[in-house]
């Protein structure tokens, strides 16, 4: 059923989707186009359309001849990404295996604990991990020194490549875990049973059937985590910078905020091009991986519960592993944040419990900056989530239901947004609104626009929900005499609402966690909570920083829990 066949009077059937497509172009294609344009305009400290700017290859020459880029930034980035991806893949696979395929007890409980930290902004976690593992006064170090008699600093040093990779892997593992456990769950258990019934031992079954069948499904999350790691900014900034680790996202930021002199727009744009290409390449691989995973098995017919492998004498090591992971990723950071918000830098051994003070919390009540940041955080997260969900749903509809020309391009463009590192998105939006004097630069509005490039988050979810609904449901509505808009609002919209709500929720979480974009586009006026937390910590106010982190978790958690309950009740999966 194509939009062109929906009858003469229904101009809305063309106008609404067309508007959606235009917004998508505006959100993604315009900034990206501007970025490429800026890379070839100079001199470097001029905006690309400023009077006096002209076509040049200087920016490109500069990055080719820049030794630091090749000998420091590129290797640091690659080591950081490779290390994080390897470590989080191994941890996530082990966790997913334990929870989905063994007779471990309390699986729901562990599952919730593993994914809970995804709600905490990475800045907050970064600060908590510094408090836990900084070489001089980190809690873990204090405890280890007391236990082993170690003298001096350490033994753990978070400010190192190893420390950075460890923290980043802790932070990304839950995302990989979620996807891997879904892959494990979707495997048809009779494939393994058929192998056992053919005379293969359990070990042989694992290597000859389980692993090859799961491989495409496991590959997709690995590529996705590569993409996520590539765009990480918070931990490299907070943990990596003191260790003189210089990854590309930070390098781009440096071009825009040099220690001396003017921002180098052309240089920043030129550096982002190869990394953008890297991101899109990974995205292409991801696309291929999910396609071949789809071609492979999903559960068919009536499936019996998968046989769970008895842990036996591995039970204790398994619990120890889970406990350690959850302690470092979720429990200790939360405890440390709450403690620090009450006691500041004073570690538990030296604190007098009576010294606990809610001063940090109380001080926010009369702090206009706090109120502005809180309002901005919610405003930006909610409005960008609304925009992306609406536009994304329209694009999904165009791609699935119409034969409109150019829908494949639209599909590819929105999918591309998944591969754009957020520091590059921030840079591109910055160049656009510095060039066009529409008064958006430095406002909350520019954040809403910049956040909203993540259209792929919705289109993927909305597409799946629309595809599950047979077109005959809409056709029946039209055959009953309903106009296009009536059909969409009365039939399609209610049916895909759970899917759209999940998408909204996910975008809201991403928006609340977002740090890179508001950091790059920071102004006094558009400060958000995640940036404020970092500023407070930098400014030597650990208790305030921690208190704000605790409040952020306390604000987001109940919203998510309530919304999830609602979505599950409506029959959707979030």
């Amino acid at each position: 059923m194509s939009a062109s066949r929906t009858g003469r009077g229904d101009w809305l059937a063309v106008a609404l989707p067309a508007a959606g497509a235009l917004i998508a172009l505006y959100l993604i294609a315009v900034p990206l186009g501007m970025l490429v344009y800026a890379a070839f305009r100079g001199p470097a400290d001029f905006l690309p359309m400023e009077p006096g700017a002209q076509w040049t290859l200087d920016n490109m020459r500069a990055i080719v001849s820049d030794d630091a880029l090749l000998t420091k930034v590129l290797p640091d980035t690659l080591i950081f990404v490779a290390g994080t991806v390897t470590l989080s893949t191994l941890m996530a696979l082990a966790l997913a295996w334990l929870i989905e395929r063994t007779d471990l007890r309390g699986r729901t409980f562990w599952f919730a604990l593993i994914i809970y930290p995804t709600l905490i902004p990475v800045v907050v976690k970064a600060i908590a991990w510094i408090l836990l593992m900084s070489p001089n006064a980190g809690w873990a170090n204090l405890a280890l020194r007391a236990l082993t008699g170690w003298s001096g600093e350490g033994p753990i040093n978070i400010f190192s490549m190893t420390g950075l990779i460890f923290c980043q892997a802790l932070s990304t593992t839950p995302f990989v875990f979620l996807q891997m456990s879904a892959a494990l769950r979707s495997m048809n258990p009779t494939l393994e049973e058929a192998s056992r019934a053919s005379g293969a031992t359990p070990l042989k079954t694992f290597f000859k059937v389980t692993l090859p069948v799961l491989l495409p499904g496991l590959l997709a999350p690995v590529i996705l985590v590569t993409l996520i790691t590539l765009e990480q900014f918070e931990l490299p900034l907070i943990v990596g910078l003191p260790a003189r680790i210089n990854i590309f996202a930070f390098r781009i930021y440096n071009e825009l905020n040099p220690a001396s002199g003017l921002p180098n727009y052309g240089g920043a744009a030129a550096i982002s091009l190869p990394f953008l290409a890297l991101g899109l390449l990974a995205l292409l691989a991801y696309n291929r991986a999910i396609r071949s995973a789809d071609k492979f098995v999903t559960i068919t017919g009536k499936a019996y519960a998968q046989t769970r492998i008895p842990l036996g004498r591995w039970r204790l090591p398994a619990y120890l592993f889970l406990l350690t992971f959850v302690a470092f990723s979720a429990a200790l950071p939360t405890v440390i944040l709450i403690w620090t918000s009450l006691f500041g830098f004073t570690a538990p051994g030296r604190a007098n419990l009576a010294d606990a003070s809610f001063r940090a919390y109380a001080s926010f009540l009369n702090d206009p900056v706090f109120w502005r940041a809180a309002r901005n955080s919610f405003l930006v997260a909610i409005s960008s989530a609304v925009i992306v969900t609406m536009v994304g749903a329209m694009i999904a509809w165009i791609v699935v239901r119409t034969k409109a020309p150019g829908r494949k391009v639209l599909d590819a463009l929105t999918f591309m947004s998944l591969g754009i590192p957020s520091v590059i998105a921030g840079l591109a939006v910055m160049v656009v609104y510095l060039s066009f004097p529409v008064g958006l630069y430095g406002t909350v509005g520019i954040l809403v626009i910049a956040y909203s490039y993540r259209l792929a988050t919705t289109t993927r979810l909305a597409r799946a929900s629309i595809m599950q609904i047979g077109p005959e449901l809409e056709e029946a509505s039209r055959a009953s005499g309903a106009r296009w808009l009536t059909t969409q609002t009365r039939i399609l919209l209610p049916l895909i609402t759970p899917g759209l709500l999940s998408s909204f929720l996910l975008l809201f979480i991403i928006g609340m966690r977002e740090f890179t974009i508001p950091f790059v586009l920071y102004s006094q006026e558009n400060v958000v909570m995640s940036v404020l937390i970092w500023q407070l910590f930098q400014g030597g106010q650990p208790a305030h920083s921690a208190a704000l982190g605790v409040m952020m978790i306390a604000m987001v958690l109940p919203i998510i829990l309530l919304a999830r309950r609602y979505i599950v009740a409506r029959g959707g999966g979030a």
Binding site: R196, G199, V209, V213
Partner: protein, 363 residues
Amino acid sequence: MLNVKGLKCAFNNAGATVVGVDDVSFNIEKGACYALLGPSGCGKTTTLRCVAGLQEPSGGVIEIDGRVVYDATAGICVPTHERPIGVVFQSYAIWPHMTVFENVAYPLRVQRPRLRESEIRDRVMNVLSLVGMKDIGERPAPRLSGGQQQRVALARAIVRNPALVLLDEPLSNLDAVLRDHMRKELAELIARVGVTALFVTHDQIEAMSLAHRIAVMKDGRIVQEGAPREIYAHPRDIFVAQFLGAANTIDGVVDTALADGRARVRLNDGQSLTCRSAAQPGSPVTLVLRPERLRLSASRPDGSAGLAAQVRSVTFLGGFVECVTELGDARLRVIGPPDVSPEAGAGVWLCLLDEPIALPRRE
């Protein structure tokens, strides 16, 4: 060949213990094909999975080819991969990352000591040609139709000459036309290979056409076991009678007991007829009348027993006519040749081609 004694299997479902299989015993002769027949949830698939070792029973003994593979009291439970079996799964479970050839070769490849590559090749090609799939051995497994998947699954199950082949609803994933075709092919194949087979189905036609013996299951127990004809003609209770083929039922009371297990039964509307029944006079019974053992007649039949009834509706179905008749408050379905076409509402006689069976009824 297969000997199952007192098999029990209890599940733990949301805290409560559910008995899936309760004291099931049966015996399959070498080379025979045996069917477990019953509605979903009767425990037939659980029984099969226990025999395969894919599920651990909670009691009983299972013996395959003279070897005890499970014994609750002796604490024996041989793992699946050490049992001499082949399994055809309901979903076929064709491995998507292998070609057809590799799927079928797999049971041979995992054997120890290793087989020679040439031997594997010969044996795989042999079974593939047996199931008519010789030419598509190199095709990747995901690109197979339902019927082809079924053949590959079967080839894989018999390639290592297992003592016993287990088939879990082998035809239920196929569409109706293909199912008819594959049923005949499967019967032929099982006969040709001469393998001992245990299969599970909810389809009585499948069970009757494929199996030498059938066990009808209900609520985790075997209700009746025997050759297909025997069960069809002498169902032990109403459940078996109705599960095996269409059956009209009509209630009555035994009037007088006759010699050699027969009795005179009076129906609710006052007519009476002679049935096969061992029930005592005065006890309530239900008569089982197979539609194809009834004939319509305009006049009272002489020689055979007859019942007066009224025609309620007549439906022309091409090769035959289906006639629903009313007898008191009971309705009886009769199949007749297409040229017999009584008017709705007319009085009619039902001739019984043989004496119906009357089963005791609990009131």
